[in-house]
Each structure stands twice: as C-alpha cells, then as structure tokens.
C-alpha cells in the first residue's frame, strides 16, 4: 500500500498534505525558530479550540448539513460551566459537566429543529448563533467569570511530559472521531446521508434520528472546545469563540470535506486546522500583521478547493 492510497482510503485530500508540507518547509526557511518542539506545541495549542470545533463541523457538513452556532455554543458552554462552579458553588467536576452538557443541549435543540420541525439547518443554526451568544451574555451579565479551581486549570494550563494538556485532548478526540467517521456504521450512514438523502432513506437509514445525533455531537464538540478554552484562560468568557464557526468550517474544507456532503475525514480536517495554525504562527514569527494572516488563510482555502477541482476534472479551468 503506497502512502497516497493510504491517505486516499482515509479520505484525505493529497493536495492538503502538499500544502501542509510546503508551508512547513517555507516557514522553516523563513524563520529560524519555527522548527522547534516548543513552537510545534505552540501551534498545536493554538489549534485546539478551532480544531475541536472543526471536528463537529466535519460530521455535520459530511452529512450535507451546516452548523453556524459552533462559536456561540462554545461561549455559552464556557459561561455555563464557570457559573455552575463560581456562582452556584458546585464542586469542580460540574464545570466539565456544565460545559459538555450545555453544548450537547444546544446541539440537540439544533438537531430537533432541523430534523423534526424541518427548518433548514442554515436558519436553525444561524438562530442558535444569536440565542446561545445572547444567553451567554445574560448569564454572565456580559462579564468574564474569573478564577477557576486548580483541577480545571490542569486541563488547560498543565504540561504533562512537556506537552500542553489541551494537545492531548485534541489528539485523542481527533483519533476517536476519525475512527467513528471512517470505520463505524454511524460514520458510513453520515456520509451516505450527505451523498444522497433519498438513497439513504431507501436503504433504511433513520435520517431523522441520525440528524439529531449529528447536531448533538457537533454541540458536544463545541462544549468540549468551550471547556478547554475556559480552562486555558481561567475564565468563563461570554465573548469566547466569536466567529470561530467560520474558522472551523474553513479547516474542514481545506482538509477535503465536501461542503455539499458525502465526503469528509477527521484526519483531513486536522491537516486543514494545522495549515491554518501554521500560517498564523509563521506569519507572526516573521512579524507580519494579522491582516496578512486572514488574507493568506482565505487564499489557501480557495486554492485548496481549486486544486481539488483540477484533479477531479482532469483540467485546470
């Protein structure tokens, strides 16, 4: 089995790997500090929040859906978790339960409205984007909720064996999610639904139930990202994750997920998220303004999809 076919079997677009490798070489040449362990973990740490959101986005988009509420649910879960511990006075495990629970509840609400009430996903999650953000601001009175217990800070700030805890969480979550999407019945049904809904129904897939599960899973990922964010900055922050849903969708698309469903891989999405993380990190190391970073990421996004079109059509234009 060649390397190419391994990645193709894993649904990873080879172009995204080329872009990743090219960027690593380019940045290493341009900045002497780029290629170091400490900087590598820096990039990984900076990628955790958007990376975990992008896992949620990949599941939903693979099934031809969309979730625009990821960033807002992140902010809501951050505030709910911190409020349970610091306002209500519950012990620290409730912060974890609060973050994950708030994310799953908001995600389930999305799923039910899409699957049962049959409102288009774009509208439902656009609505949730406002609802979750507003709720986060209401619960926290617009203020960050600061000062979490040390057990929680371990999740965000500790470095066991020199590697930041959030990086372990990202890697484990990505590995499990990759397995689920690529190798389980749930994953196959997800891709089938994204490929052709009628055919999926005809083969007996319970589409309604599947959609509810997918949006709940997406909400769970937003909750997990909210937990890590909260632990990392020691604050339940109602403005956390502002417009992160777009970064998450961008990572998924750069990684080879088809915006119209039917194709997607978590490994690919992780490559997409790393490409974005490396661009941001490298340009900062070269002392370039953040404006250029946004331009660079936009360009890579369009270029990655264009390369893909070239390959599938066999010609350039």
């Amino acid at each position: 089995m060649t390397l190419t076919s391994f990645f193709e079997r894993a649904n990873v677009r080879v172009e995204s790997l080329i872009v990743l490798a090219g960027l690593v070489v380019l940045m290493s040449l341009l900045s002497p500090v780029f290629l170091s362990f400490s900087n590598f973990f820096n990039i990984m740490l900076a990628t955790t929040t958007v990376g975990i959101l992008a896992i949620g986005a990949t599941f939903v988009i693979s099934a031809a859906g969309i979730d625009l509420s990821l960033g807002s649910i992140l902010g809501l879960s951050s505030v709910v978790g911190a409020a349970l511990v610091l306002y209500v006075g519950l012990p620290w495990p409730f912060l974890i339960l609060g973050c994950l629970g708030a994310g799953m509840l908001a995600g389930a609400a999305n799923g039910l409205t899409v699957a049962v009430a049959r409102v288009p996903a774009f509208i439902v999650t656009l609505g949730m984007m406002g609802i979750a953000r507003g709720l986060a601001l209401i619960i926290s009175s617009g203020q960050g909720i600061y000062g979490l217990p040390p057990e929680i800070l371990f999740l965000g700030q500790a470095r066991p064996f020199g590697i930041p805890t959030p990086v372990y969480i990202l890697v484990i979550t990505a590995a499990v999610s990759h397995y689920i999407l690529a190798h389980t019945r749930f994953g196959h049904h997800t891709l089938a639904l994204g490929d052709n809904e009628h055919a999926a129904r005809a083969t007996g897939i319970n589409v309604r139930q599947l959609r509810i599960k997918l949006y709940t899973l997406s909400g769970f990922m937003a909750g997990l990202a909210g937990l890590i964010f909260t632990a990392r900055v020691n604050t339940g922050d109602p403005t956390a994750g502002l417009s992160y849903e777009l970064a998450a969708i961008t990572a998924a698309i750069i990684g080879g997920t088809n915006l119209f469903g039917g194709r997607g891989s978590i490994l690919g999405t992780m490559i997409g998220a790393l490409v974005m993380g490396i661009l941001q990190n490298g340009l900062t190391l070269m002392n370039m303004q953040s404006y250029y970073q946004q331009m660079a990421i936009g360009t890579v996004l369009v270029a990655a999809v264009w390369l893909d079109q070239i390959r599938s059509r066999g010609r350039v234009l």
């Binding site: 400490s38 900076a46 929040t49 000062g147």
Partner: protein, 319 residues
Amino acid sequence: MRKILLSTALLGLMSFPALAEETYGVLMKTLANPFWGAMELGVKEGAAAAGVNYTLQAVESDQAAEPQLNTCNTMLETKMDALITAAINSTILLPCLKRANEMGIPVVDLDGNLDHAIAADAGVEIAFSIGSDNVAAGAQGADYLVSILGADATGKVLVIEGLSGNITGKKRADGFAAQLAKTAPGLSIVASLPGDWDRGKAANITNDILTAHPDLVGIFAANDGMALGAVETVFAAGKQDQVTVIGVDGNSDAVKSIKEGRLDASVAQLPYLVGKQAVEMVGKLKAGEAVEKLVMVPTMVLTKAVLDAGTEPMLEFVK
C-alpha cells in the same frame, strides 16, 4: 548587480538585530483604529529615541481575545527583553504573561487593561501599568460642562456609557457623575445608558432621551464615536444651542467636528504619549531605576477655543 543588492539587503536585515541593544515585544489589540495608530507611533518614536528594537503585533479586532493569546505565545518564541501588552480583557493574556515572567521577561500593561490583584493571583508580576486616568477624564468632562453652564445651573443631563461591563467606560461615566454631583448639584443625570461604543446606538439613545426630556442641557458620552452620534442627533433636532455634548478620546474625527463647531468638547487621551512613555519607562526599569506601579498619563480638554488658539503645549501629542 541585482544579486549584490539583494544580498546586501539581506545582510543588512540580518545584522540589524545585532546592532540594536535590546528588543521589546509590543502586543496591541488592533491597529484598525486611530487611537492605537497614535500609540504605535509613540512606541516607534520612543524606541528610536532610546535606540532599542521593537516587534509589534496586533490581532484583527479588539474582540479577538483567544487569537491575541495565541499571538502572545508565538511572540515568546523569539528572544525579547520586555513584553508590552494591551490585553483585550483583564484575564486572557495571563497564561502567556506568566510564561514571560518565567523566562525572566518583564511585563508591562499598556493602557491599563490588567487588574494587578487578579494578575498577582495568577502568578503574574506586572512591572508597571501605564495609561490614562479614566476617572479623571470623566471628571474633566464634568468640569467643562459646569464651566459652560455655571455651578448653580439646573437642568437635565444624559450619560452614554460604553459597552456594558467594560471597565474603561464605567470609570469615565462614574468619574463624570461623581464630579458633577460635587460641583453642580443642580444638574441631574436623567439617564445613564450603555451605548456599546456604537455611534448609531448612541444616536438612537439621544433621540429617545430628547423625546422624553426636550429640555436636556448636556450629554456626556464615554467615547468620541458615541459623542459624534449624539451630536448629529442634537443638530437634527435643532437643539445645538441648548445641549452641550462632550466626548472622550480626542480622536481625529472628534477634532474635526469640534473645529467645525459641532461637538463642544472632547477629553483627549494622549495615546501617542502613552506609547512613547511606556518605552521610556521600560528603559528606566532595565537600568535599575525605580518605576511606579501605576503611571498615569494626563488627559486634556479639547474645545474649539483650544484648537483654534493652538498654543496649549500638550496639543503636540494630539495625533
């Protein structure tokens, strides 16, 4: 020939850091705003005067908290002798600043965005905070209003606050209210509402309050953008001779409006001076001199008279 030029340029670039004694890392919120632009200019000229190098970073907006933390971490990968930061909120940068402390890099709080108690709690030692005294700026606004209306005046005043929960806007509004109550008890604040730093929102608030209180005599807005929204509404209502409008910041739009005789006054912060002094103070710190923990840079009231006369020495720092 081109090759030689190129290699000379490269050589120049590479040898530049070696020539300069020290490098300061400067992390701002955003540069998409004249206030931060003026501060950047101050940092630049301060660094040139002190003969130090600096690397400057900012994020895409003053809401992008986590990107600012990530940028801060990345900046620490390169060698630096001081880290000067304008944090987006009082907690977001703490993990990075702690790392800086551990690396022996002194941390400076630019424009007073950090809380020393919270920072100490998180194990961060702030060398010093430098910025404008926002309570005093609000009080200066009240003093100006009283100087126009008189200490025994009676009437209704509107206060437009900043983003709800934002400490800067709150300090300005509180400073204004406290000073007004002290110097002109006859002037009563009929409403104090958050304008969220938004010009349009401030215009709507002004409209609503003018409808409810047609006899309004003064408006204090916690920044110039909101004051400009308010002043346009006052003109649209034809009440410019009755209502005195005051903003805070002294930004270029406000200066223009004051010169045109629209906005009455702006309590100007001097971001250029803040940036310049921040660099100078780091130099003192590095030389082992004692530096105050809280450095307050003065603010000044800009009016049409002050701007037209142009004799006030501090005007030089209004950029």
